[in-house]
Amino acid sequence: MDFQLTDEQEAIRSEVRRLCSRFDDDYWREKDKSHSFPEEFYQAFAEGGWLGIAMPEEYGGAGCGITEAALIMQEATASGGCAAAASTVHMNIFGANPLVVHGSAEQKAAYLPKIASGKIKVAFGVTEPETGLDTTHLKTKAVRKGDHFVVDGRKVWISTAQVASKILLLARTTPLEQVSRSTEGLSLFFTDLDRKRIDVREIDKCGRGAVDSNELFIDGLEVPVEDLIGEEGKGFRYLLDGLNPERILVAAESIGIGRVALDRAARYAKERVVFGRPIGQNQSVQHPLADSWVRLQAAELLVLKAAWMYDNGHPCGAEANAAKYLAAETGFQAADRAMQTLGGFGYSREYHVERYWREAKLFRIAPISPELILCYIAERVLGLPRSY
């Protein structure tokens, strides 16, 4: 048992922290307010080589594990950049995983170096308006016609589709009625986000204003056969490979938001004097913050354990989901308590904490809800009957 990060991991964490400190709260507030993509932050990550952290070395990455990726994502959100900072770089850092694992040699050589270096941005086109987390019942169809597929359907909550040039797209290639299991017959494509055939409409939403979320209307999109990842009909399985590491990264991102919220709250509680004493001298203010610190520590341990398991080839479904559950709940709770600590000022945009709060909320909802994680733990770990 060793809780010590390696020298290299420490160096990674400290340099990313320094890099992120160049983008302060005011930068993120402005990006949030103006709904503009944090291109400067994205470029800084690209220049430092950070986008390629988890990409194999042969494709221009650093070949590190999810542990290192989790460390840098936590720093990105903990800088005050919150979910916006994470989502700006998340897809390049890990989104292309199905391509890394299941792509052909040609696909990998053509795209992975560009993703690692930030030359291309990718959107992740899986979720649909009518099916939500019931992914296997999605309605988007891809029909083979000669050397290409024709895709029609709708997607929703697709991040960065306003700025991305490529999309990782999941569509049904064999109708549900013709497959024995609903997980079969879905195919994954890595293809151009062709705006002539994909109408991208931004969704006005509560938080993470800097990074767009969209509804996609796909009408007759022609996808060359070469853009199919792996075998036709196995797309859902390919997607599953990436779910655990994604849970781990989102958990790390949530902890970062909790950390920055707690830091601002503690600082405020020390300085704010009411009734002749700093409000932080009152136990009713201290205890929730101290309690959040404890919970964030616990969540971080769980994240690091799940990351270690993944990097060392152990099955980690329960741990990755548990980490996401605890971190997202705890991160939001910390942000909520921070806002409460700042009182009226916490509600004002000027103090940034309301932004943390709005952004922490996102990770309670996406990419999976806490409720569904509990269903999963109940079923898979405790052996209770499946409830959904």
């Binding site: 990674i12 340099e15 430092g48």
Partner: protein, 272 residues
């Protein structure tokens, strides 16, 4: 070989002196006359980062090798690794308990023995370390090596043949100084904007040479350095005075100006 006197047409070999110091941005606590070490975090002294950056810029322009040297316990290796991650080629770590308690002269003696083990054209250091703020080691080392010193450098304007032109901040304004190499320069923080280590740099650092030396390796008599050889002794340490709370003035600009000016003149006495 003490140094390379002429690198014209060839490579410029630079030695950077760095120090791993307590992070003074955090709360430094003093107990029983010394700084509490428990739970403290350590960082590369900030002016040393400017020295490293300057060395790397020179390397880009003239080729050659950049070597970073530090004296300190095991943990000091962290700053050396950071220097390597930034792009320095080689690290030298003098790790010997007998160096503890060295004053500037002690450090200068150790460094004099260390840097003369290889040819060099230029030595760069921060103008002072962030923990003691003494600023003595660089000048003393230049003296021991009998090479010219330019302190508080804000710009390295030109390196030509065996000459280097540096701008330094002096009391009376900026001085433009020409020195014959080899020389020792100490860096002001406005000399440059130190680069961040890239991920590639961090990964490459682990394969770069790092030499770990003891006083015996350098044939230094332990009695001449460390607490034993120190001519100065810190007999008491007092924590820095806490900053007093600021004062806020409200009201019409004309009235505030009068009030503030009154306080500046009569209370703060800043106008002599």
């Amino acid at each position: 070989m003490r140094h390379r006197a002429d690198f014209s047409g060839g490579e410029l070999n630079v030695i950077v002196l760095i120090k791993h110091v307590i992070d003074v941005e955090l709360n430094v606590r003093v107990r029983d006359g010394s700084v509490v070490q428990d739970g403290m975090t350590y960082v590369l002294s900030k002016w040393d980062e400017n020295a490293i950056e300057a060395a790397l810029v020179l390397k880009d322009a003239h080729d050659g090798e950049v070597t970073a040297v530090t004296i300190g316990p095991e943990r000091s290796g962290e700053s050396l690794r950071k220097a390597l991650a930034m792009g320095v080629d080689k690290g030298v770590h003098i790790n010997d308990p007998a160096t503890e308690g060295s004053d500037s002269m002690g450090y200068a003696r150790i460094l004099a023995k260390t840097v003369t083990r290889q040819p060099y054209d230029l030595i760069l250091a921060g103008r002072q370390s962030q923990d003691t703020d003494q600023g003595g080691t660089g000048p003393m080392l230049a003296e021991l090596l009998n090479i010219p010193l330019v302190g508080n450098v804000v710009e390295i304007a030109a390196v030509d043949g065996t000459k280097l032109t540096a701008h330094r901040n002096g009391d009376a304004g900026k001085e433009v100084v020409e020195v014959t190499l080899p020389a020792l320069l100490t860096a002001n923080d406005s000399l440059n904007e130190p680069r961040l280590a890239s991920l590639r740099g961090i990964m490459a650092a682990k394969n770069k040479p790092m030499e770990i030396l003891t006083l015996a390796d350098l044939e230094i008599d332990p009695a001449t350095v460390g607490a034993a050889g120190a001519g100065t002794e810190v007999v008491e340490m007092q924590p820095p005075r806490a900053r007093a709370a600021g004062q806020k003035f409200e009201g019409a600009p004309e009235e505030i100006t009068k009030e503030v000016m009154g306080l500046l003149v009569n209370e703060a006495k800043i106008f002599g």
